[in-house]
């Protein structure tokens, strides 16, 4: 079964995404991190595959979601081999445009995430 990893400093948003993943029968196997520091440490060992999803929030206090991606690449985690989806409550074009520099980022979902958005994003 495929698994989903969530990195988000907002505990409510983690809970919302977890519920949506379960309710929509996408996966029950969810690993959530409320800080990118711990995520950075652990993601490598999770061996994410093409079947799995990595959801990363952009604005986090310790460092941003983009920084987390950069640091994971430095650690030689091959992000092209999994499904990377950014999530953010930002509506600032500066933050959104930045995602274009990351080829392996498949989607940027704007919070609040809905069932429809999630299903659309994961179908393609």
């Amino acid at each position: 079964m495929n698994k989903a990893v969530i990195v988000d400093d907002n505990k409510y948003d983690i809970l919302i995404l977890e519920k949506l993943l379960k309710i929509n029968k996408i996966t029950e196997d969810i690993i959530s991190f409320s800080t990118p520091i711990v995520a950075l440490n652990d993601i490598q060992s999770l061996k994410l595959s093409r079947e799995d999803y990595l959801f990363i929030d952009i604005m986090m206090p310790e460092f941003s979601g983009y920084d987390l991606l950069d640091k994971l690449v430095e650690q030689k985690v091959d992000l092209t081999q999994t499904n990377v989806i950014l999530v953010s409550s930002t509506i600032d074009p500066r933050d959104i445009d930045k995602a274009k520099n990351y080829e392996y980022v498949q989607r940027l979902l704007q919070k609040p995430i809905t069932s429809k958005m999630l299903l659309d994003a994961l179908r393609t």
């Binding site: 907002n10 409550s89 930002t90 509506i91 600032d92 609040p112 069932s115």
Partner: protein, 369 residues
Amino acid sequence: MINDSPHKIKVLFVDDEFFNLQSFRAAFRKYFDIYLAQNTHEAKSILNEKPIEVIISDQRMPDQTGTDFFNEIIKSHPEPIRILLTGYVDIKAVIAAINKGEVYRFLTKPWNDEEVVVTIKNAADVYRTRKELKNKNAALEKAYNELDEFVYSASHDLRAPIASLKGVLQLIDIEPQNTTEYIGMINEIVNKMDKYVINIIHYYRGSRFDKEIEEVDISTLVEELLDEFQYMPEFKDIKVNKHFEIEKKIYSDSIKIYLILRNLIHNAIKYQRCENPQKEVSIAIYQDIPNGALTIQVSDNGMGIDSNEGDEIFKIFQRANNVKSGIGLGLHIVNECVNKLNGQIEYKSQENKGTTFTITLPLNDKKDE
């Protein structure tokens, strides 16, 4: 008028004729602070060392003409106002230099003492007005950058909880049987937002308003704050020490004092180490009447601040600690309030040992400063 200011205008006079240098000094030393240079090489080294406000240079000098000299220094020393001293024969060069903006005025040789004094004073007026404008521009730019950063940060910090609220409302729709649980979450999110908005109001009151001097009952302020903070989850099992040495009534801006105390005490409680069995927060307030100073000291034996942070911690939206949530306004508000009260702020901190903030404020008499 700017010319009435106590400090004398700093004037650099450049002329290759020794006699001219001497007579210039003799004629104007009582009005101005005069520096002499016999060639442009000497003039440049004086410019590098002294904050010269007005330069008067002879046009015809063996090493370099006055206009060439001005042209050369325009990049390295753009601020001093330049006046050319010349005979009528050089009038074309003078007009060209004035048109290029290198020269403010020209004086003719032999000079008229009164005209020289008036010209220098006018030039210094221009110098000082430009400088003032530059300072004001820098202050405006700072305010503008802060505002820009504020809007950027606030747009996220206010939008994020709204997005969470919408998300939770959606879950209620999908799972109405769990409504009670979700309403609890909505409550928490709304409370957080409320705190954020209150902080913004505090920031506004702390930094945007001028001070208002009134009697401040500082010990009651501390008690009220501690009453309020007793419901913070971190507050339990913290020992609070209070030490007040207040002999006479304190006159200051009570909102700013309140904001200083509120943020410092709040941080001292919030950034404790949970594994520490003897958590302590100390609040000491001393009135030093002979020196006209009020000292506020708030210390804790908590997490401490990374020693590399320096004054960075006082910047807006800068967070000294990433372990706990926060928006990076607290210490900025404290710093702005202390500045508005013409006080000073210092801190000492060691990681995992604790932090002490010491604030010294001038004591005001009953009214005004």
